[in-house]
């Protein structure tokens, strides 16, 4: 487990046409404590996925500082910190079975091969996919594929888990079950989680804190809302949760043009 600290992050991209540059992220600073779940909420194009890519070490062209447990991202990976990513689409390798997909990341994370079987069996039990270990992704429903993708992420026992709108491609019922599964597994591992979403209810249900980004380009964090007062485990029919999500929506409306 590890903390994440971003200080004065700026990210410019070259324009598709011409020689100019445009600013995707403008001076973003925040900290995610070890074991905390923090959500970044904002409209499409506000730069929230870019922030995740920076933490994941996929994007190195930024200005400012990104530290994992006090160590710059690029060095953190060399020191053995592990980051796992759950994407909007499951991004399972279609030519590998669920088990082989998990083996792929266990190998990448340098986990000892003698422990693979045990880890895979345990994590698949948690996401209720034990019977589907030897199935190919195409044989599974969208929800099951995303379960497998969550299993893949937790299998390496990451220090940090990044989620990029992981449930937005699913129907609401399936998404609800998966959010609950995610939190159940989180209770086991207490992994530090940073997720991005454009769904206020989802962010409130998952997060200890929610940060709201304004409309891009030049996305900034406009407001930080603490949800620490909501006890866990949370339920969807909790009045407190409903009130908190209303507060989040109200805050969003101030900064997102489309919602005004």
């Amino acid at each position: 487990m590890a903390s994440i600290e971003l200080t004065n992050i700026v990210r410019d991209f070259p324009e598709a046409q011409g020689r100019g540059r445009w600013r995707a992220i403008d001076d973003v600073s925040f900290k995610v404590e070890t074991g905390e779940i923090v959500g970044i909420l904002g409209p499409s194009g506000c730069g929230k996925s870019t922030l995740l890519n920076i933490v994941a070490g996929l994007d190195e062209g930024y200005g400012g500082r990104c530290l994992i447990d006090g160590v710059p991202v690029s060095e953190a990976f060399e020191k053995g910190f592990r980051v796992a990513y759950v994407f909007q689409q499951s991004r399972l390798l279609p030519w590998k079975t669920v088990r082989q997909n998990i083996e792929f990341v266990l190998k990448a994370a340098g986990r000892r091969q003698s422990t693979w079987q045990e880890r895979i069996d345990a994590i698949l039990r948690m996401v209720e996919l034990s019977d589907f270990a030897d199935f190919f992704p195409a044989q599974l429903s969208g929800g099951m594929q995303q379960r497998a993708s969550i299993a893949r992420a937790f299998a390496i026992e990451p220090d940090i888990l990044l989620l990029d709108e992981p449930f937005s491609a699913l129907d609401e019922l399936t998404a609800r079950r998966l959010r609950q599964s995610l939190l159940e597994i989180w209770r086991e591992f207490r992994t530090t989680i940073l997720f991005v979403s454009h769904n206020a209810m989802e962010s409130t249900f998952l997060g200890d804190r929610v940060m709201i980004m304004g409309q891009g380009p030049g996305g900034r964090i406009r407001e930080k809302i603490s949800l620490a007062h909501l006890s866990r485990p949370r339920t969807y029919d909790d009045v407190g949760l409903f009130d908190a999500s209303r507060e989040v929506i109200t805050a969003m409306q101030q900064y997102v043009d489309d919602l005004k």
């Binding site: 190998k107 199935f135 044989q139 099951m144």
Partner: protein
């Protein structure tokens, strides 16, 4: 269907839900009588061939039975096997050459914008230039020999194959590569487990396509400037107005190509791409 098995043995709550069963309502499953359709298709072709033979004089268009008998007769001779061996050898060499060049052009055009722009003119030119002109030019410059025959069969198909490979390589799913990078997979792991499996179907499809094209080209170069091989024999019997043997030689090679398709490409496809057929 696989997904139904999945649902029936499921302990997962959403396994039986509405989403993603992958089966389209109203879509008829032809799986059980697919072989019958194939047989019916072959029989229809034979019937049409026979009908043509009845309508036309036998020296212009021989029927399937007469051609088959001629083929069986030719199979008793050494000549047919020698010509077939020669043609197969040319196909193999031309195919190897064409694939090597196409892989180079296809990959560089897909992976580098500069190479893409640079070779675009060559490819367009290659596509529009008639094969006949390319083959004749090669025969004139290189001479009427084996090298020219192989070059003449290989070069006209390079632009077509290169475009195919470029399209295939360009359509690689970068999301999967990003996933692998995010999980810190090694370069070797990414190439072996993420990139290669995506390129393999492209290579198989291009090879299949390439062999088919090369065989037609080899026949052409043999007809134009060689004194052996199936193409030469076809031309030879055409000069003698013996259409029965023209068709018999064509038929002999048709069987060889079918064998290559079933024994090599079919087996490769089944072995390497089991995951693509699991949807059922």
């Amino acid at each position: 269907m696989a997904i139904e098995t999945a649902n029936s043995s499921s302990s997962s709550p959403e396994a039986g839900s509405l989403e993603g069963t992958g089966k389209k309502p109203g879509y008829r499953d032809h799986g059980s009588y697919a072989p019958l359709i194939t047989v019916a298709s072959v029989l229809t072709l034979l019937a049409l061939w026979q009908l043509g033979a009845i309508l036309l004089p036998p020296n212009v268009f021989a029927g399937p039975l007469s051609v088959s008998l001629a083929l069986i007769e030719e199979m008793q001779t050494v000549e047919l096997w020698q010509d077939m061996g020669k043609t197969l050898q040319r196909i193999a060499l031309a195919f190897l050459l064409a694939m090597t060049l196409s892989l180079f052009f296809g990959f560089s055009m897909a992976m580098s914008r500069t190479a893409g722009l640079f070779f675009r003119v060559w490819v367009v030119l290659g596509l529009t230039l008639p094969s006949l002109v390319i083959i004749l030019t090669i025969y004139m410059t290189v001479g009427l020999n084996e090298t020219a025959a192989v070059l003449g069969a290989a070069l006209p198909i390079v632009p077509i194959l290169a475009i195919n490979i470029r399209e295939g390589v360009s359509s690689i799913d970068l999301g999967l590569r990003d996933m692998a990078v995010a999980f810190r997979a090694s370069r070797a792991q990414i190439i072996r487990d993420v990139i290669a499996p995506q390129i393999a179907p492209v290579l198989l499809a291009s090879s299949r396509f390439g062999v088919g094209l090369v065989w037609k080209m080899v026949l052409f170069v043999e007809l134009l400037g060689r004194s052996d091989g199936i193409g030469y024999k076809i031309e030879f019997y055409y000069q003698l107005f013996n259409m029965r043997l023209v068709l018999a030689y064509a038929l002999s090679f048709l069987f060889v190509m079918l064998l290559i398709e079933i024994a090599i490409f079919g087996v490769l496809e089944r072995k390497a791409f089991r995951w693509r057929r699991v949807r059922g």
